[in-house]
Structure formats: structure tokens, C-alpha cells
């Protein structure tokens, strides 16, 4: 597990450096993700110790945003005041997103099978 974690931390470090010096609009960890993706593509497979760390993180990704999400207690009065706007925006947006994504996929793949 430790070799995998070391690799991921190094890619994260590379991403942070690239973000700081080259592409300040993109967060460092995302650049680290892209670097690792390129590396995996060149390598042609996922090393076992890397897969182990990644699967552990994916399974409990939610734990990592508990500290930040708890900050919602500082926004409660504001959220209460705009409760309807928040609820309807989130609801409307997720329904429309599912619908549009699925319809575009369906339309494009139908065209592809007809050709």
C-alpha cells in the first residue's frame, strides 16, 4: 500500500507545481490526476499497489469531504432564507442533466447504428 501512496503523493506534488507555475486556473490535484492518467496510458496497466490505494480512496471518498461539508452550519441562516431557490435549483438541474445527457446519447447512438 505504501508504494502506491508514495506514487500518488508524488503525482499530486507534480500537479501542485504545474498548477502554481503554469496553469493557475486548474487545481493542482486535477493536474496530478491528468499526469497519472497519461502515465497509466503509457504504462498500459495499473500497478497493483496503486490500484489498492485508489480503490480504498474511491470506496470512502465521502469521508474526506465531511470536514468541509460540516461548514454548512455557518450558512444555515442564509440557506433557510433562500431554501426554495436552493431546493428547486438543485432538483431542476439534476433532472434536466439526466434527461439531456441520456437523450443526446440515445440520439447519437441511433444515428451511428443507422449509418
Amino acid at each position: 500500500m505504501i508504494p502506491g501512496l508514495v506514487q500518488i503523493l508524488l503525482w499530486q506534488g507534480a500537479g501542485e507545481l504545474a498548477s502554481h507555475f503554469l496553469l493557475p486556473s486548474i487545481p493542482g490535484p486535477v493536474l496530478g490526476l491528468v499526469f497519472l492518467l497519461v502515465f497509466l496510458n503509457l504504462r498500459g496497466r495499473v500497478p497493483e499497489n496503486l490500484a489498492l490505494v485508489s480503490d480504498t480512496f474511491s470506496q470512502h471518498l465521502g469521508l474526506l469531504f465531511v470536514p468541509a461539508a460540516t461548514g454548512v452550519i455557518l450558512f444555515l441562516p442564509q440557506l433557510r432564507e433562500h431554501a426554495w431557490a436552493v431546493v428547486l435549483a438543485l432538483l431542476g438541474s439534476v433532472l434536466l442533466t439526466v434527461a439531456v445527457t441520456a437523450l443526446v446519447l440515445k440520439g447519437l447512438s441511433r444515428k451511428a447504428t443507422h449509418e
Binding site: L5, I8, Q12, G15, E16, I26, P27, G28, P29, V30, G32, L33, V34, L36, L40, N41, L50, A51, S54, F57, H60, L61, G62, L63, L64, F65, V66, P67, A68, A69, T70, G71, V72, I73, F75, Q78, H82, A85, V86, L88, A89, L90, G92, S93, V94, L95, L96, T97, V98, A99, V100, T101, A102, L103, V104, L105, K106, L108, S109, A112
Partner: protein, 243 residues
């Protein structure tokens, strides 16, 4: 002969170290995860939502300010970046399996991603929400660790973004099937991909629990939306009239 420590001395010691915040965070998540498994992975019993409620109530009872809690919990928070990097592995696995369908998938992703932003911002703005709320709507359909990083760079609240992302995930995981049934979408890969674009990680685990093919495509959609969001949202944000 050691005299017993007075309880408040123990308390002062504990609350001064990161230990208390870490115990609180991990225990709350453990309880949330246990309830989630007990409910047969029902998206309504979302472990993050349960954990946030438990931590928030505990802070209230302990009379502990949020800033003080975060000082200790930042060690968990820090790992978000590391976890973001490790998302490369599931994306790579998805890429390898699905090379042939990449064109339609990318077009669907871009349309879905744009709709998620425009509709959320549009509805929130027309109903008179304030700046902080509208700003946090922008990246809420992207997987939370990336969404928070993007929000931070753009000067929006990462906290509200995380909260909206979790609620979006729960809503999508619960409601997507009704939309997909109504539209007559039958193929598992199309259903999974649409859920992944709209409801990131929470939708993805829901998709996996329904059908493996839907899960694979949902997880690919979540990963691609994460990368696209991180690259495109900072570029697009300047052109969307937020306020």
C-alpha cells in the same frame, strides 16, 4: 500516588489537540457508513449526510466553534487532493473498455455538463438566491473533491459547493430512474452514463448496485465530468452571467 485528573483538565487537553476532531469525524462517518450498509445502500441513507449531521450536532453540544473543529479535521480534509489524483485509476479502466463509444459519450457529457450549470444557476438566480449560493451552484454536478477545488479557485464557497454536490448526488441517485423510464432509455450503458454525469459518486454507487454495466459507465462519466469540469468551468465561468 497520582491524583485523578479533574474532568475539565482532560477536556482542555483533548479539545486542544486534533485528536478530538479526528475521532468525531471518523466515528460519525463510521456510523453513517454502517447505517448506509444496513439500509441496503439506500441513497437516502447517505453516509456523508449522516456524518455531517452527527458532527454538526456534536459541535453544538460541545460548544465547539467550527473553525476549531476544522483545525483538527484538516488532516482528513487534506487527503481530498490525494484522493482526486487517485481517481485517475477508475478513469483509466473506463477508458480502456470503452474506446469505441468515446465520441457520443463526450458529446453527451458536454451537453449534460453545460445544462447542469445553466439550469442550476438560472433557477437559483431567477428565484432570488444570493451570490454565495449561486456561485456554489456552478460546479456542484462535478464530483465533490474536484468541485471544491474549482470553487475555491473561482472564489466561490467550497463548503456550499460540497453540500450542494452531496444533495445533487442524493437527488440524482433517487430520481434518475424515473426520468430515464419516462424518456424510454433502456440501454444500461446510456442510463449509467447519464446518472454519472448528473450525480457523480453517489449516483455511481447507486448505478453499480443496480447493474454492473451501468456502474462502469457511471464511473467513467463521473471521472470525465471531473476532468472536463476542472478544465472548462474556469473558462466558461467568465461568460455565464451569475448575478
Amino acid at each position: 500516588m497520582s491524583r485523578p485528573l479533574p474532568i475539565h483538565e482532560i477536556w482542555v487537553y483533548l479539545s486542544g489537540s486534533p485528536l478530538l476532531a479526528l475521532i468525531l469525524t471518523l466515528t460519525a462517518y463510521q456510523i453513517g457508513f454502517y447505517l448506509y450498509m444496513r439500509s441496503n445502500r439506500n441513497p437516502l441513507a447517505n453516509p456523508v449526510a449522516i456524518a455531517v449531521v452527527i458532527v454538526a450536532v456534536s459541535l453544538e453540544l460541545l460548544d465547539m466553534p467550527y473553525a476549531k473543529y476544522f483545525e483538527g479535521a484538516q488532516f482528513v480534509h487534506f487527503l481530498l487532493g490525494t484522493a482526486t489524483v487517485s481517481l485517475a485509476v477508475p478513469i483509466y479502466r473506463g477508458f480502456r473498455e470503452l474506446r469505441g463509444r468515446m465520441g457520443p459519450l463526450l458529446l453527451a457529457l458536454m451537453s449534460g455538463g453545460l445544462v447542469s450549470i445553466v439550469s442550476a444557476v438560472g433557477i437559483a438566480r431567477s428565484l432570488g438566491a444570493d451570490h454565495a449560493i449561486i456561485g456554489a451552484m456552478v460546479s456542484k454536478s462535478v464530483t465533490a473533491p474536484i468541485a471544491m477545488g474549482v470553487a475555491e479557485r473561482l472564489g466561490y464557497s467550497p463548503t456550499l459547493t460540497a453540500v450542494f454536490a452531496v444533495i445533487t448526488g442524493i437527488l440524482g441517485a433517487v430520481l434518475a430512474r424515473y426520468v430515464l423510464d419516462a424518456l424510454g432509455i433502456k440501454d444500461w450503458w446510456q442510463r449509467g452514463f447519464a446518472i454519472g454525469v448528473a450525480a457523480h459518486g453517489i449516483g455511481t454507487s447507486r448505478a453499480f448496485s443496480i447493474h454492473p454495466e451501468a456502474g462502469t459507465y457511471a464511473s467513467l462519466a463521473m471521472g470525465l465530468h471531473g476532468i472536463l469540469g476542472a478544465v472548462a468551468i474556469p473558462l466558461v465561468a467568465g461568460y455565464i452571467p451569475l448575478f
